[in-house]
Symmetry: C2
Subunit: 420 residues, 2 copies
């Protein structure tokens, strides 16, 4: 009898203790992420860097409190990146993109082609296989529109011509990055790289986007109008979440990437009358979920594979270092692409340097597909973190920040500071 | 080679397909919950009822799309109830509670004692064991402040004396319900019911609340002041989530219930300067997580155990029916407790009838601890759902709703409509 009672008690507290422990881990993730983000902000660095560092501290490299293989945390991180890409879509005005002019476009094109080429050359020189090289080179392509916009806003220079060009180019190369993502996802999935295969993947990525946007432009306003009749608090937010999750799932089914669906949902819902309510509601969800993604990424970094005292790790450090040089030089050079304009070209180049979420997603993809070992994953993550470190002080110096000019937080910053 | 490639592809899409599938399930949960909530609203029923029905439809009884044993969904449901109780705490003004006067208090006391006694008598008459009887009787005690407030607001009668008494009593019996919850949790956990044991549990519940509130009243404003210096969007929301999750975990460690910690966090953060930002930010999280809780509860209902054509289920139906009669009669009678006042006493009684989240939490606890079988769980859930069905039309009739008088959504409704 005593035994039976003890058994029941154990069972109950085990079931309950599991939930309590996960709540404690989530509280720890959010607290450390917040503290590190605030710390990063205090030394003039973007918040996302603090969140990545929080992940390194909480992960296997140090405290071992966050297990990147935990299914619940992995799913919440996945929701985080879906919400982040939805928010980026919500901030992306396709028509505005067309207006930003040729300058943004050439910066974007050169800023994707040059890093990819240089990155591939580095990998080729180090003797990597084709698939690994494509994934590693792809991690260099996408500028983080989030990090860049946040830094420019902190400097009070969001309205400058250079900033407009940077933002336009960053947004364009975010879209291009999503296409590359689908290609690389196919490549990482082990598909043969043939011209036809790449075209098929590009076709699926474009096709999914085009069909979704074409159908969505008709359906979304109708749904939004129907939604307007539902007088329940929170309906627009849930509508947005359902659209983001639903299209993410549809993209997956269509052979595209989860986040392309989420991005498409954001692009579509930007046009509905409830867009502002959606932005506010989803921002709160982003404050909760997005840091979990960055902490989860940071927790996957294996610092032991970056130990400079261990000769076995020298190849990883060499790889990471060369990727970093390629990443910085190539994006900086892209700033000089609009040769016909007399603008502060070095500032544009510096603004394109920070890599962020998309590069990390590539790295995660390489790790998940088995193409990357822990060393290569850590090298790429190091490259992303270093570019994020380098850009803010460089931008500050090149823009010669006007003291006292402070921009009020705009939509883009709110998106950007989602993870803060 | 072909095989290897296929293997990698399979692995990758399995890992990714898992996330995509869960996103699709979450999108389905939120959509069906929303549609059923809107449908419930359209026929004059509270939204929470629609969400419970959505769970029945999505769960094992019908579509089998939602598996109540899935760990990811179970954890998200747990987060939902933690956020809901945090929101209830955020709306509960302890000092206001003391002012509502003796009327609310006697309604609350009679409204807890009478249902418990009648429920226990029903169980005793049916020959149930002591522990089962205590849990089943406890499910009758707590009026759902959420459902009641929402209905009163829909009728435009939130400011009436009767409504004030109902709301005060509902809030008091929510607090009493939390104490009973801790007692029942101990009982369900298999502890011997002795006077000393009950006192210990009551002591732990009160003790945890008192110590937390005493320490928190000093610490929370200090933390909030420090927080005011962090200029990052979303900080108050994350602070609130960390407080709710952290105190939920602490309550669990202290031998109290998760939701008592979350409720205490809400009580404390009501007093900080950022309370309004917190309310807005957490409301968005609630719109996402809270319906997952109610759908999860609904999905646990086994309709097969309520089949009137199956003679084996007659005992379940009899039990549910008798509990329902006890639930309605006892709370209705409680409305007559403030005998010295000349108010609309039947309306007060009707307002106390709807049971909600706390009753369902008891039922879930009974199921998890193994004290309830599927039949008893379903009978209790049926009772909760039926009281929720009965109250709104009864209240409407007894209040003789003033047509055209519509209250603007206030804080309490926003909390209440959290799950909508």
């Amino acid at each position: 009898m005593e035994l039976l009672i003890a058994d029941v008690g154990l069972l109950w507290s085990a079931a309950d203790g599991g939930a309590a422990r996960t709540l404690a881990v989530l509280a720890a993730i959010l607290t450390v992420a917040k503290v590190c983000a605030a710390g990063a902000g205090a030394i003039g660095q973007p918040a996302v860097l603090g969140e990545l560092l929080a992940g390194v501290v909480l992960g296997g490299s140090a405290l071992s409190l966050v297990d990147p293989h935990d299914t619940v945390l992995a799913l919440m991180a996945e929701i985080g990146v879906v919400i982040l890409l939805f928010e980026i879509g919500l901030e992306t005005d396709l028509e505005q993109l067309l207006k930003v002019g040729p300058a943004s476009t050439v910066v974007a094109i050169v800023g994707v082609a040059l890093p990819f080429g240089l990155g591939y050359a580095v990998c080729w020189a180090l003797g990597l296989g084709t698939i690994e090289s494509v994934i590693a080179a792809a991690t260099l392509t996408a500028t983080s529109v989030g990090i860049t916009a946040r830094v420019l806003s902190d400097l009070g220079r969001l309205r400058d011509v250079e900033s407009q060009i940077i933002l336009g180019a960053a947004v364009i190369d975010d879209v291009v990055g999503l296409i590359i993502l689908a290609v690389v996802q196919g490549v990482a999935g082990g598909e043969q790289i043939t011209a036809g295969g790449v075209l098929w993947i590009v076709g699926m990525a474009f096709g999914f986007l085009i069909v979704t946007l074409a159908v969505g432009r008709v359906v979304a306003p109708l749904l939004a109008r129907g939604l307007g009749r539902v007088r329940m608090v929170g309906t627009p937010t849930i509508f947005a979440v359902v659209a983001a999750f639903g299209l993410a799932w549809a993209a997956d089914i269509a052979g595209s990437a989860l986040i392309i669906g989420a991005f498409a949902a954001g692009l579509l819902l930007r046009e509905v009358p409830q867009a502002e309510q959606i932005e506010h509601g989803v921002a709160s969800l982003g404050h909760f979920f997005v840091p979990i993604f960055f902490v989860h990424v940071g927790a996957s970094v294996d610092l032991r594979s970056l130990n400079p005292l261990d000769p076995a790790q020298h190849s990883t450090l060499l790889f990471g270092g060369l990727l970093l040089v390629a990443a910085v030089v190539s994006k900086f050079a892209a700033g000089f692409a609009p040769w016909w304009l007399s603008v502060n070209k070095p500032a544009i180049g510096a603004g394109m340097i920070p890599r962020g979420e998309v590069g990390l997603i590539f790295a995660q993809m390489g790790l998940n597909s088995g193409q990357f070992d822990a060393g290569k994953f850590s090298a790429v993550t190091l490259m992303v973190m270093a570019t994020t470190f380098i850009a803010p002080p460089l931008l500050k110096a090149l823009f010669k920040a006007k003291p006292g000019v402070e921009e009020p937080p705009s939509g883009i910053e709110e998106l950007v500071s989602g993870p803060d």
